[in-house]
Structures are given as structure tokens and as C-alpha cells.
């Protein structure tokens, strides 16, 4: 790795909606600059986790340093800092953008601007980034470059007269993009002589080397062996390994202002090197940390319980390991009368929650039962004390509280005009407050609502997609707490209260939710040898009830001419299903039932 002057460094990220071709474009740039040899190329180099490849989304950030000889004959270093593509990780996105001077805005020429893209563009503009618009997939028959370019001008307010038309898949326009990066994105400021300040934009845990920290040097320089201090966590470490990402890690001796790299310093958990923290030198610290650090706070909580209580220790172990690599994940032991011992876990959002659950089941081989997600309620007690409740079953009884407040978010949806009505209807049923509607083009209308977060963490996103036939996209941010008339809805299965099914709802919707929930549970809980009543109650008042009729027979009449394999398979399936159920008293309740509240037809 040759030393490179600050003036010839370009740091950029790519802003794009899912499927608009970000990863493919990154792949092409790596190829064209000779960073990754053709033969080593696997599709979507930057998406490392299986889960990411399967879903086509980026969860963990990556970075890549490319050497590029531009048309002016000069050699440049281009650092691509990838951003995660989901609203749950918007804080990480903001830190990645803060590490860049510019960004490519990649828009599918046959689709147009989506809400998430827009949110990230605004974030980039706030960070004073130079934005280069790119139309991708122009080779597709449905491409409408003029329309989409106009749309970007109208919606984002960018000058698109020189918009680059590209097809990452076909390699069209990639060269132009690289030239634009060199010529349009400003170089970093030369602050090599100032005390070291480096911005952490990602980190992950490595079992052998400890936490690997990805950072951008904003000021000064850092050398291998330096003793560094992390200003927010106030911890000091000696750098064992320093390097750049090419995109594979390559060790170097020194990095200076403008450069992007990684370090390893025997840091034990990612919590000690959080995204947004500032690295400085222990013996010559900077006066001020870099701005913008916040601790990512979990917004959504749920209970995780092992189906088999023997797996409690394994679950604890797995959460500990995940936590090493995921500072935003929180977990505390929880005991439920219905579910036994488990953990109350906090997540940034629904996707984060799903990812953690899936990794626990896939990578750690655990059978889990997840309770419906809940938000954090703020409850003011009669003695004036304010408590935060992230578990509906812990809500203090009415006589002990003065008020309940719940988190609100501002949601921006972008949708074709046709579905505006359907989406407004969705927001109304979710207690939404209409704020604004902007008409950009026929295919792009922006709809802004304020909604209780609790109404969004259920199936809001699915509903948004289904009511707009997949066309609408959304983005949200937390805007604060508001007082509402909320009540706790309890569920009794076979006369026994099931704390894991308790939920907090608005009084006006309680009756409806109670009815829908009991009906859904009737569908999901299998028949037993006895009649199973299911009731929804508020306090001691039953507001809805159903019953599951008794099972009358469960027998297979025939074994086919000695072919016992079918019956055996059937029994094995039945046995497996049983294993994944939780016994509530004498009633076996399947896993899906605990998520039933998410699946109510609204």
C-alpha cells in the first residue's frame, strides 16, 4: 500500500433502494479497478452474511479501498463505505455518511425514488455530501431514464442534466461513475497535523483478534502500536493490527487523515467500540470528540423463550455471543408464568429482531418461542415516579398509575397515486395523524403521518406492501412520547392467564382486538381432548370469548400394504409440531399463537 496524498483520496458511499443494484455496482467497481480479480469474484462481494445474500439486503457494513488511475493520469484512492439498507439501521447509515465526502445516488431507471432512498439522501445532504445521481438498469426494456431523471430533480431537488446512465450488470457507465467520483467529490480536508480523530462506522467481533473496528481518520494519523482512547466508552487499547480493506484486510503501518481502515486492539466486545465513537491518541488526545455520537437504543422488545427449558443456558450463551457483535441488542432475564425462563430482548426495529431470532435458530440451533413485539411505554405512577415498561405483563394496575405515554414516529411513505387512499385508510385504522401529502409525479406521492410506534411494529409494513401491491415504500423516525388512553388486554387460555399474550392497546380498539385475537387463537391452537375456552379480558371484565371444541379422534385408519413409512412420517411431523409447542397448563400452544396479535385482520 503506497502512501497517498490527501488530495487524491475520495471517500463515498452508495445510496440505493433494495434491488436497485447497489451491490452489483460495487462489484463492477471492484472489478474495473482491479481490486478483486475476476476469478475471485462471487456475486455481491460486499454482502457477506448468508442472510444478506438470501434477502438481498445489507445488514453489516463493509468497506473497500480501490486504486484508480483516472483519465487525468493521476492515481487515486477511492474508499467505498457501504451503508445498510434498512430503516432499523438509520443511525449506522448516518455514521457511514459522516465518514464520506460524497455519495452515489443509484436509482433504478424503471422504478424511481423510494422512501428509504429519499431519507438517506436527505441525511447525506445534511452531512454536506456531494451527491452524484446515477440511473441504473438502463438496459432493461422498461427503463424510462427521462421520466426517472425528472423525478429525481422533482423529488430530491438534484440537478440531473448530467445524470450518469448505467447498467451495473452489463458494465455500462461504470467508468463514467469512477471519473465522476474523482472529479466531483471533494477530497478530504488535510488535517494530518491535528491530534488524531477517527470515526468508527462499523465494528464486528472476531474470535481470535477481538473486535475489528472500521473507521475513517478525520484528523491526524494513527500508527500500529499506538495507544488509543475511545472517547465515548473512555477505554484505552494498544493497536495490534492496522490495515485497509481491499476489500480483504491488508495490514499497513500507518493511516492518516482522509483514509479508511480497520484496527484490532484486543477489544472484548463491540459495546466498547460503538459505531459513532471517536478514536484518539491516549498521549495526545483531541480536545473534542467528533459530533453525532448517540448510543443506539432498542425501540422494540420481545420475549425469547426456549421451547425446551433445557436450552435456557444455551440461549443465554448464544445471546452473549451475539451481543459481542451487536451493541444495539439488549437482553435481560425474564420469567413468565406461562413460558418459564427466557429473556426480554431489545432491538432497533422489527428487521433487527427478525435477524437476531433467525441467527439464534440457525447458527445456534435453538428452538425459540417469541412473544409479540412491544414498544417501551412510559408510565407515570401516582407517587409521580416515571417507569419505563417494555413488557405489557409488567404494566402497573390502573389504580397505581396516573398516565401512560407511548412512543410516536413520523412515517413518510412514497407511493403511486392510486394507492394513496388505501394507505391513508391503513394509517387511520392505526391511530395515525395526517401531517402532509406531497404530489411529485404520478408514480410518486409522499404521504406523511404521525403514528404510535406500537401500531407500526405489528404488521404495518406488510400491510403497506400488500395495500400498494408492493409499490409503496416507507421510512420513519422517532419523534417523542404522547399520552394516550391505553389499557392492558389479557388473554386466558383454559381459564389460565397467559402473560406472554398480554398486550397494551388503545381503549377504543380493545374490543375489536380482543375479538380478533380470540378468533385467531382459536384457529392456531390445536384441538385438545377437552374443550378449551379462550377469553380476552380487561382487568376482570371479559370482553371476548371463544372456545376450541374437543378433539374427537386422532387416528390413522390404515397401513398401506405394509408401507408403514407414511404413517411414521405423519407421526414424526406430529411429534415435531408438539416439540415446538409450549404447554400452558394442560394446553399445548404452538409458537405462531404468541405472534397472533401481529396477524389480526385489521
Amino acid at each position: 500500500m503506497t502512501d497517498v496524498p490527501v488530495s487524491r483520496i475520495r471517500n463515498f458511499s452508495i445510496i440505493a433502494h433494495i434491488d436497485h443494484g447497489k451491490s452489483t455496482l460495487a462489484d463492477r467497481m471492484l472489478q474495473l479497478t482491479g481490486t478483486v480479480a475476476q476469478r475471485k469474484m462471487k456475486e455481491q462481494f460486499l454482502d457477506n452474511m448468508d442472510l444478506e445474500r438470501e434477502r438481498g439486503i445489507t445488514i453489516k457494513l463493509q468497506a473497500a479501498r480501490m486504486n484508480y488511475t483516472a483519465s487525468d493520469g493521476q492515481q487515486y484512492v477511492l474508499n467505498l463505505i457501504d451503508t445498510p439498507g434498512h430503516v432499523d439501521f438509520s443511525y449506522e447509515v448516518s455514521r457511514s455518511l459522516a465518514a464520506c465526502e460524497g455519495a452515489l445516488l443509484v436509482v433504478d431507471a424503471s422504478q424511481g425514488v423510494e422512501a428509504q432512498t429519499l431519507a438517506n439522501v436527505y441525511l447525506a445532504l445534511e452531512n454536506d455530501l456531494e451527491i452524484i445521481p446515477v440511473l441504473n438498469k438502463i438496459d432493461l426494456p422498461g427503463a424510462e431514464p427521462e421520466r426517472v431523471a425528472q423525478e429525481i430533480e422533482d423529488v430530491v431537488g438534484l440537478d440531473c442534466s448530467n445524470i450518469i446512465k448505467a447498467s451495473a450488470k452489463e458494465g455500462i457507465g461504470v467508468k463514467e461513475i469512477l471519473e465522476a467520483i474523482v472529479h466531483l467529490i471533494p477530497p478530504p480536508q488535510n488535517t494530518i497535523d491535528e491530534p488524531l480523530r477517527a470515526l468508527i462506522f462499523d465494528s464486528y467481533y472476531d474470535a481470535y483478534r477481538g473486535v475489528i473496528v472500521y473507521f475513517r481518520v478525520m484528523d491526524g494519523k494513527v500508527r500500529k502500536g499506538d495507544r488509543v482512547r475511545l472517547m465515548a466508552s473512555d477505554k484505552e487499547y494498544e493497536i495490534d493490527e492496522l490495515g485497509v480493506l481491499s476489500p480483504h484486510q491488508i495490514q499497513v503501518e500507518e493511516l492518516h487523515a482522509g483514509e479508511v481502515g480497520y484496527l484490532a486492539a484486543a477489544i472484548k466486545t463491540v459495546e466498547d467500540a460503538r459505531v459513532g465513537d471517536t478514536i484518539t491518541l491516549a498521549n495526545n488526545p483531541a480536545a473534542e470528540p467528533l459530533p453525532g455520537y448517540t448510543e443506539a437504543k432498542p425501540m422494540v422488545f420481545c420475549g425469547l423463550f426456549p421451547t425446551d427449558s433445557d436450552q435456557y443456558a444455551d440461549l443465554k450463551d448464544a445471546l452473549e455471543k451475539l451481543k459481542l457483535n451487536d451493541a444495539a441488542l439488549s437482553y435481560d432475564p425474564e420469567t413468565s408464568s406461562a413460558m418459564g425462563f427466557g429473556f426480554r430482548c431489545g432491538f432497533l426495529g422489527l428487521l433487527h429482531m427478525e435477524i437476531v431470532q433467525e441467527r439464534l435458530e440457525r447458527e445456534y440451533n435453538l428452538d425459540l418461542i417469541t412473544t409479540a413485539p412491544s414498544v417501551v411505554y412510559r408510565v407515570t405512577l401516582i407517587d409521580g415516579e416515571v417507569v419505563e415498561i417494555d413488557n405489557p405483563s409488567q404494566l402497573p394496575p390502573p389504580q397505581q398509575r396516573i398516565k401512560i405515554e407511548e412512543p410516536y414516529i413520523k412515517v413518510e411513505m412514497i407511493t403511486p397515486e392510486t394507492y394513496v387512499g388505501a394507505l391513508m385508510d391503513l394509517c387511520q385504522t392505526r391511530r395515525g395523524v395526517f401531517i402532509d401529502m406531497k404530489y411529485f409525479t404520478q408514480s410518486r406521492t409522499s404521504l406523511v403521518y404521525e403514528l404510535p410506534l406500537a401500531e407500526v411494529v405489528t404488521d404495518f409494513f406488510d400491510q403497506l406492501k400488500s395495500r400498494s401491491r408492493g409499490y409503496a415504500s416507507m421510512e420513519y423516525q422517532l419523534i417523542g412520547y404522547r399520552e394516550n388512553d391505553l389499557v392492558k388486554l389479557d388473554i386466558l387460555v383454559n381459564k389460565e392467564p397467559v402473560d406472554a399474550l398480554s398486550t397494551i392497546v388503545h381503549r377504543d380498539k380493545a374490543y375489536h382486538v380482543g375479538r380478533a385475537l380470540t378468533e385467531k387463537l382459536k384457529e392456531l391452537i390445536p384441538r385438545h381432548q377437552f374443550k378449551v375456552p379462550i377469553q380476552a379480558t380487561i382487568g376482570s371484565k371479559v370482553i371476548a370469548s371463544e372456545h376450541i371444541p374437543a378433539l374427537r379422534k386422532d387416528v390413522l385408519a390404515k397401513c398401506y400394504g405394509g408401507d408403514i413409512s407414511r404413517k411414521k412420517k405423519l407421526l414424526q411431523k406430529q411429534a415435531k409440531g408438539k416439540k415446538r409447542m409450549k404447554a400452558i397448563g394442560t394446553v399445548d400452544v404452538p409458537q405462531e399463537a404468541f405472534m397472533a396479535v401481529l396477524k389480526l385482520e385489521q
Binding site: R552, K553, A557, C559, G561, G562, L570, L571, A575, K579
Partner: protein, 417 residues
């Protein structure tokens, strides 16, 4: 999961099969509930022997000949289908000769054949009996023409009585009737009437099968279990209870989940399956259990022929010890007499019996499970003062335990598997 000592590898492989199932896949048409491997010949009775059938019997005999045999002759042979009664006499004779030459047939062997009303005449039946068929299983399914039509059966109520008359005239010494409950539009009254008529015919055995909806059948695609026009679970459970009450009242013993027989007339061949003993299987889609390996043959004729041409190799792994235990329980608990705990204790150890007993506690309290002592009397477990170690047999109660046998078995699979 339970772990067994390594020496307890397999038990069935030391025993040589003395039972054989032969699959005769031909049918006039496919019944709407059936997903068996069959070949449809068409409604018209053929004037000549179909070359299709000749070729098949050729392959079947070839398969018998390339199967390694022991010195033990067969004690039960079962022609199932399909509709074996579509088999021309000379071809049946050819198959039986091949078996006789290759394995030998014991003098008192039970040789059963499934037959459909309307597919045979007196001469044919006499011929069958003449070459050795001594047990007939007549698939009548229902006595009501409208129900037979709904099922897509190729015979009518009239054909049933004609077939019964032939069976009596020819003097078949052991015959059985098949009935199906839970058919679309079937009422409890119709079922009761079918049972009355079956009793009046006085066969040696009556099988009552509760309809199973198989996904790839016409029924499976059209209907949802327990939903109209199918009877509700409550109604089919009542039909099951009614069959038990009426047939046991008429002197039949409810000896298996779906089977009733007069004393001494239980189907010996089917008991081989339920006792988890080995058996040969021949023909397309037929299953065998030989040398501890369960194997199902290719389900189409073409693939079956190819398989024989390639030497009829059975590559399946041997049934593991755990599977052997689960299969013994799954099959054995279909019989009214249940399974021998003494045998399980010898094969798997007393700990396994203990575990089984723990799994079955709730069902014992429910009255679905019984434990018998060495004196064949039921043992009462009032508290913990009585010990399972002295118990000899485990069985499901008839009919309540039978009705919930899947629930009970699934628990055993869950805890022991």
C-alpha cells in the same frame, strides 16, 4: 432421544420372512380416494388377456426368482392391489407356481386375495380357489349406490350381492369385507345401515376404514377434513364408536384399530406387519422388510421394470434401534393385545420401559392406556406403590384409546425419537 448399547443393533434381521405381499396394480378406474400405485385398464372387460398384464406378471415372477430365499416356506401370501381379481387365472397360477418353486408354500398357509365386486364370475373364483386362494377380501366400501358413485367405484350395490352369492356358492372358507366411513355426504344412518347389512352377510372379518384424505387424490384436492360435504370429526368419531358397538355386539372381536374378526379368523398376513416382523414384497410400489431393511419399490411400471433389469438392488440402510422401537410401538399398539413390555425390556432395557411409562402417564389417567400384569390382568396404578417393572403388556383401550392413537404415539415419538 434415548441411547442404546451398541450391541442392540437390530432384531428383525435375524428372522427370515415367512410372509409375502404381491402387488397387482391393475384397476378398471381409479377411485377418488386412492393414491396407490396402480395402472388403469379401462371399464370394458377385456376379451383377451392384456399384454400389459402379461408383461407385468413376467416381471413380478422375475423379481421373485432373483430374490434370495431361505429354506423356510411361506405361511402367508397376500395379493393386494390394485384389483388382483382382474388377474386371469393362468397368470395367478404362474405366480403361485413361481413362489412355490422358489420359497415353498407351507401346507396351512393363508393365501389372501383382494377382490372387487363385478370383476369376477363363478368360474374364475372357482379357479382361484382351485390354485390355492383360501381367503378373500372383498372391497365393497359402501352399500349405497349414491356413495359408491361419489367414491368413483366401478361397481354397484347389485354387484356386491352378486359377489357375495358367488363367494358362498363356491364355498370360500374365509372371507372379509371392507367398508369406509367418513365418505362425502355419508350420514350416520347410512353407516349404521351398512354395518347392519355387513353383519347380515356374516363374513369372517370386517374392516372399517375411516376415510383418509390423501393430498394427490381427487378427494384430497376437492375436500377439507371435517368440512362439508365430509362429515364432521364428531360424526366420524361417532361412526367409529358405532362400528365398535355393533360389530362387537354381533360377536366380532375388535382386534385392530380398523379390523374386526370372528375368533380364529384374524388376518394372519396383516398381523405380520403389526407385530413388526419381516416380510417380502413384490411388484411395483410394494414394500418389503427384509434383513432389517424397509424398501419401497419404484411406483411406476417403467421404473419398476428397469429396477428389476438392474438386479433389484435394495440399498436402504437398516432400521436403527430407535426406529425399531418406535415402529414396534406404532404397529403393535394398533392391536388390541398391544405390545409386550417384557420383550422391550429384554431388547432395550428396563429404563426404556420406564420412559415409555412416564410418557404415557396422562393417557393412562385419561383411560386410553392399559397395563397388564403377568397374569394378563390389568394393573391399577393408584399411586406410586405399584411398579412398572412387573408389568407384562401395554395396550390401548378399545375403542377410546384407538381413537386417539396418533396423539399417544406422537408423544412417544417426541420423547423417545
Amino acid at each position: 432421544m434415548i441411547f442404546f448399547p451398541a450391541k442392540l443393533a437390530n432384531f428383525s434381521q435375524q428372522i427370515v420372512p415367512v410372509a409375502a405381499y404381491l402387488h397387482i396394480p391393475f384397476c378398471r378406474r381409479r377411485c377418488y380416494y386412492c393414491d396407490f400405485p396402480i395402472t388403469v385398464l379401462g371399464e370394458r372387460a377385456p376379451t383377451n388377456i392384456s399384454p400389459l398384464v402379461v408383461d407385468y406378471v413376467e416381471a413380478l415372477c422375475r423379481e421373485i426368482e432373483i430374490t434370495s430365499a431361505s429354506r423356510q416356506s411361506l405361511t402367508t401370501i397376500f395379493f393386494g392391489g390394485g384389483t388382483p381379481s382382474l388377474l386371469p387365472l393362468p397368470l395367478l397360477e404362474r405366480i403361485l407356481k413361481t413362489i412355490e418353486n422358489h420359497f415353498g408354500i407351507a401346507p396351512e398357509a393363508e393365501i389372501s386375495m383382494e377382490m372387487d365386486p363385478g370383476t369376477f364370475n363363478r368360474e374364475q373364483l372357482q379357479g382361484y380357489v382351485g390354485v390355492g386362494i383360501n381367503r378373500v377380501s372383498l372391497g365393497i366400501q359402501a352399500f349405497q349406490d349414491e356413495l359408491l358413485q361419489i367414491c368413483g367405484r366401478s361397481h354397484s350395490r347389485k354387484d356386491i350381492f352378486a359377489a357375495i352369492e358367488l363367494i358362498y356358492r363356491v364355498g370360500v372358507t374365509n372371507f372379509s369385507l371392507d367398508l369406509i366411513s367418513g365418505l362425502p355426504n355419508q350420514t350416520i344412518e347410512q353407516w349404521e345401515s351398512s354395518l347392519e347389512q355387513a353383519i347380515a352377510i356374516a363374513p369372517h372379518q370386517i374392516s372399517c376404514y375411516d376415510l383418509v384424505l390423501e393430498p394427490v387424490t381427487a378427494f384430497g384436492k376437492q375436500y377439507q377434513p371435517g368440512k362439508k360435504p365430509l362429515p364432521t370429526d364428531e360424526d366420524t368419531a361417532e361412526m367409529y364408536g358405532l362400528a365398535h358397538k355393533m360389530l362387537t355386539g354381533a360377536g366380532y372381536e375388535h382386534y385392530e384399530v380398523s379390523n374386526y374378526a370372528r375368533s380364529g379368523y384374524q388376518c394372519r398376513h396383516n398381523r405380520v406387519y403389526w407385530e413388526n416382523k419381516p416380510y417380502y414384497g413384490f411388484g411395483m410400489g410394494a414394500t418389503s422388510y427384509v434383513n432389517g431393511k424397509r424398501f419401497t419399490r419404484p411406483r411406476t411400471r417403467r421404473e419398476y421394470y428397469t429396477w428389476i433389469e438392474e438386479g433389484g438392488v435394495i440399498k436402504e440402510p437398516e432400521v436403527s434401534a430407535t426406529d425399531f422401537l418406535l415402529e414396534s410401538l406404532m404397529l403393535g399398539l394398533r392391536l388390541a393385545e398391544g405390545v409386550s413390555l417384557e420383550q422391550i425390556r429384554q431388547q432395550f432395557g428396563a429404563g426404556v420401559v420406564e420412559q415409555i411409562w412416564i410418557c404415557l402417564q396422562p393417557y393412562y389417567r385419561q383411560g386410553w392406556v392399559e397395563i397388564l400384569g403377568r397374569d394378563r390382568q390389568t394393573i391399577k396404578f393408584e399411586s406410586n406403590n405399584c411398579c412398572i417393572t412387573s408389568a407384562e403388556r401395554l395396550r390401548l383401550t378399545t375403542p377410546e384409546g384407538f381413537l386417539f392413537s396418533n396423539t399417544i404415539l406422537a408423544t412417544l415419538f417426541e420423547k423417545l425419537g
